[in-house]
Symmetry: C2
Subunit: 369 residues, 2 copies
């Protein structure tokens, strides 16, 4: 059975590495011949919304998924029409994830607490939104935001004009600034038959808008229960198939939904070594209609992203028990080039080792005490 | 860095799956374009001893290894001459593994207990060997034996002639028949700098000469110590680099060395999920000169080979926590098509679940009580 994947980045690469042992075949589509996933599986070369390339993918694959959420919903829908290819996760979930305003409306409609916000299409609308929601706040593009891109914090009234100047021209969203205490994410999987499994809760640490560190399981029983309740509502609302991640802020012990990702998620990379079945394998099991795998944690994991430049492989692998995932990407400031995972028998040992490793990789960046 | 591998079977496939996350590239050589490893890495097509193809491999790879032990030592040596390519494991170890008589001499020279045997090159030599070693015994081809092929048990004097008729024409070995109680194997890894790590001991169960089941760790402290002592002698004798497996019979609580495999070994497949670092990753770390990874077990593993025909994927994956490895080979009686691994928190649970799974896969074959 062939799985077609739009986008051939590191998520596609790790999907293929997880699916090949199951006997699955892969076919990717991406703009360049030199991508993380094309090292290990065939790839069509073309724009991600190119009708001919997408059509070819739909004709050669039994199921189509995506490793990037900013792919064109309309182009995907058109390509699959009349072919036997299913698309998973479902396109309405993808559409919601692509637009911050739709995403917020989804949370509200499902009774999932989220930040206050307003869509902004003009300078006057921004002024009204600031007046209603207050300062500080965050002005964000509704579409194409990731890794902290496309957003500006507005600290006071004097900064409104500059933010407008920086982002106007595309649909925007003004959102209250939440001085949160923690960021967590919840990852769930829904199979074709409707069965749902959840991974343990992740605690995430960002710097410069980019995820640096995930600790999992993050033992916070009440938060985990609430997160899974929210996740379930979203999975059921979309008749979802595949892995879904939801990011939350934690403010005064309560979750505030920030965004959804209708795909495998960076905060779930620890599941490769740290859970019985990885998020990658479970995404594939779900979309090809196989039984879902167990999601229990194996030990206590820390996942650290390797950003901007790759450390020496020899140095990294000298850390006992470190698992390296090199995406073989060209280094560039702020670019995710790989990740590494430590799995320890206690949370205390994990935190100590993660702290020491972070200090080696990002001196001066103190994410955890 | 490119790793060249002669042979593109399932061992090569699992080596590539382990090495790609480390950022390694692979290039295989095999007779057919349709092999387990060529699904995920480029492959040259040619005979395994073809000088031109081997030369090409040596010119494009920094290190050459093999996934099958019956490759030509002379052809490999000639191909690497004058190139920068190292060969690992070392060719003298490969040569010893290819010839049962050399292998036995190696054990004897290193003081490793083994079965009594004699090289047999004529009918008269067979008669002398039977007279000296006694009956029953096993007549084996010295070369090209695997999975029980190329050997005949001689139960009494009347059977000598038939065995001779069946195998004569190639160099043979006559060996005492050992009514052993158990079969175990030990897997070790030696790095370029001479560091050695050992995996926990494996207990192996064969049927029809083919490995069906491995349980690991097999808790038998005295046997494990002895096995590691023997393994160390062999690793050091060859100035070995890479993974080495040694199979032993256990007779009256003592080890008798049966054979060596200078490569990753079927009885070590459980290490993918059941050890901190898999044998595949550690073989690669050793041969490319990286620090070796931790070999500690994670839980209690049972590895079951899928032989002759593939069970339904859906049925297999409905077993909670089962890890499937499909080699995507064409089914054929007696052929290893894949394996699956269970990792449990206790040996008792592992044994119970392995027994139940074996009963589903091979009804009537009672390997474990």
């Amino acid at each position: 059975m062939t799985v077609g994947i739009v986008g051939a980045g590191q998520l596609g690469r790790m999907l293929a590495l997880a699916g090949i042992p199951l006997g699955l075949d892969f076919l990717f589509l991406d703009r360049s011949a030199d991508t993380p996933a094309s090292q290990i599986a065939p790839a069509l070369i073309g724009e991600l919304d190119d009708p001919t390339a997408l059509r070819q993918l739909a004709e050669r694959a039994e199921v189509i998924s995506f490793d990037w959420e900013n792919v064109s919903v309309a182009a995907l829908r058109a390509a699959a029409r009349g072919t036997r290819a299913r698309i998973a996760p479902p396109l309405p979930a993808l559409a919601a994830a692509q637009d911050r305003a739709l995403e917020k409306r989804l949370f509200t409609r499902l009774g999932i607490p989220t930040t206050r916000c307003a869509a902004v299409n003009s300078r006057a609308a921004l002024a009204r939104a600031v007046a209603r929601i207050g300062l500080p706040g965050v002005l964000k593009t509704r579409r194409m935001g990731y890794d902290g891109k496309g957003q500006v914090v507005i600290r006071d009234a004097a900064a409104v004009e500059a933010a407008w100047g920086q982002l106007s021209g595309v649909p925007l969203l003004y959102e209250e600034f939440v001085p949160f205490e923690q960021e967590v994410s919840a990852i769930g999987v829904r199979g074709r038959s409707g069965e749902i499994v959840y991974y343990p809760l992740n605690r995430n640490y960002h710097a410069d808008g980019i995820l640096r560190l995930t600790l999992a399981p993050w033992h916070a029983a009440a938060l985990e229960r609430a997160a899974q309740r929210h996740l379930r509502r979203i999975l059921q609302a979309f008749n979802y198939v595949g892995v879904l991640a939801v990011e939350f802020f934690v403010r005064r012990g309560r979750l505030l939904a920030n965004e959804i990702a209708p795909r495998v998620h960076n905060s779930g990379h620890w599941t490769i070594e740290g859970a019985v079945t990885s998020q990658f394998e479970n995404h594939l099991r779900a979309i090809v209609g196989l039984p879902l795998g167990a999601t229990a944690a194996r030990g206590h994991s820390a996942m650290i992203n390797l950003i901007g430049s790759m450390p020496q492989r020899r140095e990294l692998l000298s850390h006992v028990g470190l698992h390296l995932h090199d995406y073989v990407k060209t280094p560039r400031p702020g670019r995710k080039l790989g990740h590494c995972t430590l799995v320890e028998s206690t949370a205390r040992v994990r935190d100590r080792r993660a702290r020491a490793l972070l200090e080696r990789l990002y001196p001066g960046l103190h994410l955890i005490q």
